[in-house]
């Protein structure tokens, strides 16, 4: 019973690993599709870019025997080289990724002299490139280690070839494949980085400025971070719709959290204020710090069209006054109420 239970567990584990691998390769496929890398034409264009031709394939076929027995050694040397670099320590600490990368690297070296550089080969490169970028291997470190690998390959070729001339030609052919690989891996790593950046931008955009109602017909708009044209647009649109939805009369716009205000940002603020005014709402700008206001004056930005008040508290008090609220402390109110 116990034995069979164990067997089931092992089987399940095997399945789990396979499923994870399937998922990973699915993601690799998706990246490849998104980059438009897997079409025959794209691959052909990349071959052309490095001038990889039929005579190169013939040479590679000839040197295959010299390379194949030593692929494990090369793969080990590749990571050994990285081990010498302080910067790569972070990457090498991730044992799972390194183990997987070593396996893929060995496959890569076998495929590198395999003579087939089609979509399947490209997909392998993508897989490796994504693994590097996930594990945090910097591009320049990869290039350094790859260069060292080429040096080793060149040395082997020099030993196996009859003449130096032949060795050089063989090496050049292999180098074309290597640069084809580098092209893909660099693209993948850049693509991954851009994807991270765009995901972060998305996240920041989702943190768009909330428009808060703090009293009937009184809105507050706390702005935090930098204002660019796109954000200013979103912000203004959001505010205008809130003005209508909440029937706002006064808006307090707090820019304490805006790090730098330059001419451009000031113009965005002015536009937001002008648009709000067209909808019948008064905007009070608060939180312009001493440095910011001096910068604005030095820049010659005319903010006289803005109603500004030093801090948020003052802004809210002024807004309350404009709408006709009077805020009293409880004990004051008792005294003030007609008995």
């Amino acid at each position: 019973m116990a034995a069979s239970g164990k067997a089931v567990l092992v089987a399940l584990n095997g399945k789990g690993v396979r499923m994870a691998n399937d998922l990973a390769s699915e993601a690799d496929n998706a990246v490849a599709q998104e980059m438009g890398l897997l079409s025959e034409q794209a691959i052909a264009r990349r071959h052309k870019a490095v001038a990889l031709g039929t005579e190169d394939l013939a040479r590679i076929a000839r040197i295959r025997e010299a390379i194949l027995p030593r692929v494990e050694e090369y793969a080990a040397a590749f990571f050994g080289y990285l081990g010498e670099l302080d910067e790569a320590r972070e990457f090498l600490r991730n044992r799972d990724a390194v183990e997987q990368a070593r396996r893929l690297k060995t496959e890569h070296l076998v495929a590198m002299v395999g003579g087939q550089y089609g979509p399947a080969y490209a997909l392998q490169r993508i897989k490796l490139g994504r693994l590097y970028s996930r594990a945090g291997l910097e591009l320049r470190l990869f290039l350094g280690a790859f260069h060292d690998l080429l040096r080793r390959l060149g040395t082997t070729l020099l030993e196996s070839a009859k003449t130096g001339e032949e060795a050089f030609q063989d090496f050049m052919s292999l180098k074309k494949v290597a640069f084809f690989d580098i092209g893909i891996i660099v693209d993948v790593m850049v693509f991954e980085r851009e994807r991270v950046i765009s995901r972060q931008q998305e996240a920041i955009r989702e943190l768009t400025t909330p428009v808060l109602q703090i009293r009937d017909r009184l809105l507050m708009l706390p702005i935090i971070g930098t204002i660019d044209t796109h954000r200013a647009r979103m912000l203004t649109e959001g505010l205008l719709h809130s003005i209508r939805a909440n029937r706002a009369k006064v808006v307090v716009m707090d820019v304490t959290g805006v790090g730098a205000v330059d001419t451009k940002v000031a113009n965005h603020l002015l536009q937001t204020v002008a648009a709000s005014r067209l909808m019948g709402a008064t905007v009070i700008v608060t939180g312009l710090s001493a440095e910011v206001s001096q910068t604005l004056v030095n820049l010659g930005v005319d903010l006289t069209a803005l109603q500004t008040i030093g801090d948020l508290q003052g802004g809210i008090e002024e807004a309350e006054r404009l709408i006709g609220y009077q805020v009293l402390r409880a004990d004051q109110r008792i005294a003030a109420l007609p008995s």
Binding site: R233, T236, E237, L240, R244, Q271, A274, A275, S276, M279
Partner: protein, 122 residues
């Protein structure tokens, strides 16, 4: 289609319901400034909530209505500029100058009341 002008107490209300040609806008301007004198209006409300475009000519005409009505003793409030129109106007650099604006008719009337109180001797 010419814009109907309603009179409510001493306020004239013009509600623009369909897109207007330049000529029609000019005609509206002439009728409004004429009527301000005839009915001795103290306020003019122009409702533009049905407009989804506001070009430079319309903006200028609204401005001139407001300024000439003021010369004849009436305060003008433009009402119902939608968020989209407001944003487009700002982008295009169109300005209503010193013309008052309000969110809706209620607000405009409240604003005119406040204006009247300010002026009334106490």
């Amino acid at each position: 289609m010419s814009v109907p002008i309603l009179k409510q107490a001493d306020v004239l209300i013009a509600s623009i319901q369909v897109a207007q040609t330049d000529e029609e806008l000019l005609a509206l301007r002439d009728r409004l400034t004429g009527q301000v004198g005839e009915v001795r209006a103290r306020g003019v409300i122009i409702d533009v909530s049905a407009l989804d475009v506001m070009d430079s000519f319309a903006t200028r005409t609204l401005r001139s209505i407001a300024y000439s009505s003021r010369l004849r003793g009436a305060h003008t409030v433009v009402v119902g500029i939608s968020p989209e129109v407001a944003f487009a106007m700002v982008q295009l650099g169109l300005e209503l100058g010193a013309v008052s604006t309000a969110l809706d008719l209620d607000d405009a009337i409240a604003q005119l009341d406040a204006h009247r109180k300010e002026r009334a001797p106490t």
